[in-house]
């Protein structure tokens, strides 16, 4: 990609990376060598820091690059993305507060800690840890891909995609290894603010610069491409995405573990009420960008994005490099890197926590010192960096599909989680949950477009009735859980009292 302003844009990106590095260094100096501090910042996170780490972790390269591309391709209906993002905010209260109470009381660090304790099963711990780790790797690779694209654009094509991917992801791994979750939180705070401000300024800028305002963009589209102002996607597919991108992402360890780290449950309640403001309204300027690009292409003011750049994910960088001054493009591209880095660091850290805590310490029955656990944590952050960077090198697909696939996998933990934290009269059993997760995960793999056909499934069976494979997996999962629960041993009354009795007492009083 030819871009004359690349030295300025690249310099601004390097300055941003230096600031992130400095924050990482200071958090490293504050680190206490124990597993609760390294993985959970000693459960002391307050409202403001948790607010920005939750929103910055949820919104990844997907929010700043892919969403602009999807608006460009499907039009205004991608604003339906707000439905799953507000749901994610509300789940912070509905699930997060319950995770917090149980985590604080019984010392949980990972999702599998809670589920294995309720269902009294080491086998379930292993299955949950493996499912979460496996489905997290492609999601980490997505962030690495985003970083590679951004660095490539910022350098005017002088830095190849692969080099950008490896270098930027290594910087992320470096501060996540050194400072643990504190480094992740401090850098997320900066990145969360930066990316929100950057996308809003960029969205308004391109609409005003090219068409004199957003209203004119809509009217131009009505004239030249009215299909983009309509709904032409099956609602069953959007319903699937609504569930996958809310419940499916909250089930993933990088968000679930954030709820353990809050200072108190009031913090989570107010996060639940207020994070939807950020989570939903980041898509407004993304829409301005995507729709402005579509109108500009239709009017012949820009070359067709997908044909020219190979992916709709390039919509915003393409638009900015054509219309904005280099310093502004640099600030925005740093914001886009912030979105990718703030999710990648959280995911690497969560991957490391799952492997260290669930597989190494608990299933490996290791009686080791806190120093050894922190050392193991750092090793697994580095291994997650290698896995994500290698996968990203081969560009396994487009960002949208990979994120949906990753969320669909984690979504299979929903029946297990509901059974553990909500006191339903019908109790799910250990055997039912294990078989449900196995069946749901297999069905998700088989019915997800792209992957299913590679596994030998007929193409016409992909996304049946417009539902994503992950929703079909969840449906099968629930059926298996209900049926097997009828014939197998229920959780003991001691365990039910330990979980449901305790939650009812602390949330609703005696």
């Amino acid at each position: 990609m030819e871009y004359a302003g690349w030295p300025v844009a690249l310099t601004i990106m390097v300055i941003y990376i230096l600031i992130v590095g400095i924050l990482g260094y200071f958090s490293f100096r504050k680190l206490q060598i124990n597993i609760e501090d390294y993985f959970l910042v000693s459960r002391t996170a307050g409202f403001l820091i948790l607010y920005f780490t939750i929103v910055a972790t949820y919104h990844s390269a997907y929010a700043l690059l892919t969403s602009c591309g999807v608006f460009y391709k499907v039009g205004v209906f991608f604003w339906a993305a707000g439905t799953w993002t507000f749901l994610t905010g509300i789940l912070t209260y509905l699930f997060g507060a319950r995770f917090w109470y149980l985590g604080k009381k019984y010392g949980y660090i990972t999702p599998a800690d809670l589920l294995a304790d309720y269902y009294e099963s080491d086998l379930l711990r292993g299955i949950v840890a493996v499912v979460l780790a496996i489905f997290l790797i492609p999601y980490m690779a997505v962030q690495a891909m985003g970083l590679g694209y951004i660095f490539n654009v910022a350098s005017g094509g002088h830095i190849p995609y692969v080099i950008g991917t490896w270098v930027l992801l290594f910087i992320v791994a470096l501060y996540a290894m050194a400072g643990g979750l504190r480094a992740v939180y401090w850098t997320d705070f900066l990145q969360g603010i930066w990316m929100f401000v950057a996308i809003w300024i960029a969205g308004i800028f391109v609409a005003v610069k090219l068409f004199g305002g957003v209203g004119n963009v809509f009217h131009t589209l009505l004239e030249v491409k009215p299909k983009l102002l309509t709904v032409h996607v099956p609602y069953t597919y959007w319903f699937s995405l609504g569930i996958i991108f809310s419940f499916g992402i909250v089930m993933q360890p990088h968000l679930w573990m954030r709820y353990y780290t809050a200072r108190d449950p009031h913090t989570l309640k107010w996060l639940g009420a207020t994070t939807p403001i950020y989570l939903v309204f980041i898509y407004v300027p993304a829409g301005f960008v995507g729709l402005t690009a579509a109108a500009a292409v239709a009017k012949g003011m820009l070359p067709e994005i997908i044909k020219t750049y190979g992916s709709p994910d390039a919509t915003l960088p393409a638009l900015l490099t054509k219309t904005a001054p280099a310093w502004f493009t640099g600030i925005f591209l740093a914001g886009a890197s912030a979105a990718a880095m703030s999710t990648a660091d959280s995911q690497m850290h969560a991957f490391s926590a799952v492997v260290t805590r669930d597989l190494y310490q608990k299933l490996g029955k290791k009686e080791v010192t806190q120093e050894t656990l922190v050392k193991q944590g750092r090793i697994w952050v580095f291994i997650s960096f290698l896995l994500a960077a290698i996968l990203a090198t081969f560009k396994p697909g487009i960002i949208f599909d990979i994120v949906a696939f990753s969320g669909a996998g984690a979504l299979q933990l929903l029946p297990a989680t509901l059974g553990a934290i909500y006191p339903f009269r019908f109790k799910f059993t250990r055997a039912a949950i294990i078989w449900g997760i196995i069946a749901g995960s297999i069905v998700t793999l088989l019915f997800t477009k792209g992957l299913g056909t590679k596994l030998g499934m007929p193409a016409h069976l992909m996304n049946p009735w417009g539902f994503h494979g992950g929703m079909i997996g969840l449906f099968v999962n629930f059926i298996v859980v209900f049926l097997v629960s009828l014939f197998t041993e229920k959780p003991s009354s001691e365990v039910v009292e330990k979980f449901h009795g305790y939650l009812e007492k602390v949330i609703y009083g005696e």
Binding site: F86, Y93, L229, T230, P234, A273, P276, I507
Partner: protein, 48 residues
């Protein structure tokens, strides 16, 4: 394609509300309502 009849009618007419396409304005209205609703619910209903 699976689609609600109301949306089919909206797709055909492409009406504008407050300078925005109807779908965009409709979704924006509901998101603002939900955000306000979530804050009031947290304040009055959610425990602790």
């Amino acid at each position: 394609m699976t689609q609600w009849p109301v949306l089919k009618a909206v797709n055909k007419a492409v009406p504008f509300v407050l300078g925005m396409p109807f779908i965009y304005a409709w979704l924006t209205f509901w998101y603002i309502m939900i955000v306000i609703g979530a804050i009031i619910t947290a304040w009055k209903v959610w425990k602790p």
